[in-house]
């Protein structure tokens, strides 16, 4: 036999029992050549471009999934930030109409999500972008699969606090317009610092301006596999063994993802872009990042030691994964999306994992304050201040950070919301009540930090 029985059985165990899968294959498509002064014509051009490259993404992914016995959970498309493609200001109705055409295209080709209703406003907002940003709540409430992201800061440019404040109101407005669906619109809206141009994960996926015409990016999953590997270690095993075990497991997960990504790219006849080696949890039992932290020896995720455990996990995953893939990109770190991680959601609901602890954790992993349900009466200014805090962590540490909050209208601390599918469920957790309003309303930009002066 070319392979040991143990090697074959280990792979089967990972796939069949430990939820190892490819979380997403995401086809990045440039829509810069789709621009037209008539926004409806522009949207139709975008539809044609998506159909040109992406019509077969679902059958291609399913073919490769069967060939290797590996599940590919989501098939997605990311587009050039549409604020760049929609060439001037339009009415809200026009934006919504164009968005519906793109959303329908996503449904027609059978993908799960499409990203790119996005704007890059980290240094300033043009009048066109201003209108575009204001359309986001309406677009997200009128579409199913279209996702939106807004970059409000970079390490090089500093933080556009006008954009941060605006996003506080936009998040709030999106929640109100989708109040009948537990603020699901907010699950499709992310506010970023240092947004990556090749991220395959939603809701923040977009196809950067520096990318080619079309590229296939892949995001792996695998917390279940890492959890079982850590769980199998002796409880008194030292950190050396712990880190080595995670690295070796991450290596295998990444190699599998890279193989599948390259094969799907070949099937679609497009170049392979990057592999995002993020550990992405799902609400399935046993596929939780919080479980890994607890398996390391924490009584509950959120207690003292959680940040150190997460830092260790994130670093070991990167080291194992970086060696396994030729092109690592996207976010590439452990995710901590509260509602999407069953144990994390439970600990947050129990009050053991607090909002402030989550913020601390984001300083050592990707990506940020993610999928956190907060009381519906949280003010737009408080949401803006939360965004400012999180974005500062990214800007100062030259990393990507992001905020995806759900201020569920009418919901109070302890209420539970259920979003279904990969988005999971979570209880509403409290935020600080004292007002940051005067601070966030100062206006202007927070300058780029001294770390950015590298030339």
């Amino acid at each position: 036999m070319k392979y040991e029985v143990s090697e074959i059985l280990e792979t089967i165990k990972m796939n069949a029992l430990e939820n190892l899968d490819v979380r997403t294959v995401t086809l990045g498509i440039s829509t810069l050549d789709c621009s037209d002064p008539d926004i409806i014509k522009c949207a139709k051009n975008i539809r044609e471009k998506i159909l040109k490259y992406g019509a077969n993404i679902v059958p291609a992914a399913e073919k490769i999934a069967r060939r290797y016995g590996v599940k590919i959970v989501n098939k997605r498309v990311s587009l050039t930030p549409l604020s760049l493609v929609f060439s001037r200001s339009y009415s809200v109705d026009e934006y919504v109409e164009a968005a519906k055409i793109i959303d329908k295209t996503a449904s027609d080709i059978g993908i799960d999500f499409i990203g790119g209703y996005s704007a890059l406003v980290h240094k300033g907002i043009t009048p066109g972008e201003e209108r575009f940003l204001e359309s986001i709540p309406y677009v997200l409430s009128a579409t199913e699969k279209l996702c939106s992201s807004v970059n409000v800061a970079t390490t090089k440019a500093g933080i556009n606090m006008d954009a941060v404040l605006k996003m506080g109101f936009i998040v709030k407005h999106t929640a109100e317009l989708t109040a009948d669906r537990q603020a699901i619109g907010c699950a499709k809206l992310v506010v970023f610092a240092n947004i990556p141009e090749d991220n395959p994960f939603m809701a923040g996926a977009l196809h950067g301006e520096g990318e080619g015409d079309c590229v296939l990016n892949v995001g792996v999953s695998g917390p279940g596999v890492v959890y079982r590997a850590v769980k199998a270690l002796p409880v008194d095993g030292d950190f050396d063994i712990l880190c080595e075990t995670i690295k070796k497991t991450a290596f295998k997960i990444t190699r599998m993802g890279e193989l599948v990504g390259r094969e799907v790219a070949r099937e679609l006849n497009v170049p392979f872009g990057i592999l995002d080696l993020s550990l992405a949890p799902t609400p399935a039992i046993g596929d939780s990042v919080a479980d890994i932290l607890e398996a390391m020896g924490l009584e509950s995720c959120g207690t003292h030691g959680t940040t150190a455990a997460l830092a260790l996990l994130n670093d070991a995953v990167k080291k194992g994964g970086a060696f396994a893939s030729s092109y690592v990109g996207g976010l590439s770190g452990a995710f901590i999306p509260v509602s999407e991680d069953s144990t994390m959601a439970r600990r947050a609901g129990e009050g053991k994992l607090t909002f402030d602890k989550l913020e601390a954790m984001t300083s050592v992993c990707s990506v940020g304050l993610d999928m956190i349900a907060i009381p519906g009466d949280t003010s737009a200014e408080t949401i803006a201040a939360i965004i400012a805090d999180e974005i500062s962590i990214g800007v100062i540490n030259s990393k990507t950070t992001a905020v995806r909050l759900l201020p569920v209208p009418g919901a109070k601390e302890g209420d539970e919301i259920s979003l279904g599918g990969l988005l999971g469920k979570a209880k509403i957790i409290p935020v600080h009540k004292d007002s940051p309003s005067t601070f966030v309303r100062r206006g202007g930009r927070i300058p780029a930090p001294i770390q950015s002066l590298k030339n």
């Binding site: 036999m1 070319k2 392979y3 040991e4 029985v5 090697e7 074959i8 059985l9 792979t11 089967i12 796939n15 069949a16 069967r66 060939r67 290797y68 016995g69 590996v70 295998k252 190699r255 599998m256 890279e258 193989l259």
Partner: protein, 150 residues
Amino acid sequence: MDIQERIEKNISQVIREELGDSIHPDKLNSIIKNITEKLTFCLTPDELVLLRIKMDEKTQRELAVLSVIGQDSVGIVAEVTKVLAESRANIEGMNQAIVSGYFALILTIDISGMTVSLDELQSMMDKIAEKKNLRIFIQHENIFKSMNRI
């Protein structure tokens, strides 16, 4: 094509690529003959077998791993191998083990000459799996190569 002919063909290809048509055909043939003779004489019979295996791997085979896992019962191997034979999938390796109380049969099969697609073979195996209360996985070997070999 025997091993000597294949070596000759490969050497001829390399020389032609390097020198194009600038070399006289008779000269080319005499060089190839010389090299081939020297090569085959310097190999032991065992090394020749290894060389043949390596060349076979490069040129022809496409392998998949078929794993059967579940409760042991009479006739599992017979049913699985019957379908493989009918589908013209050649068994290259076979291993059977009891893992954590479960029966595990692992076959490496050459799928390059199969008369059915991998999907169709999986469907046929699914029927056996359902009847015998087993799980049968067919995975292209590249997944094991990529996860376990550098």
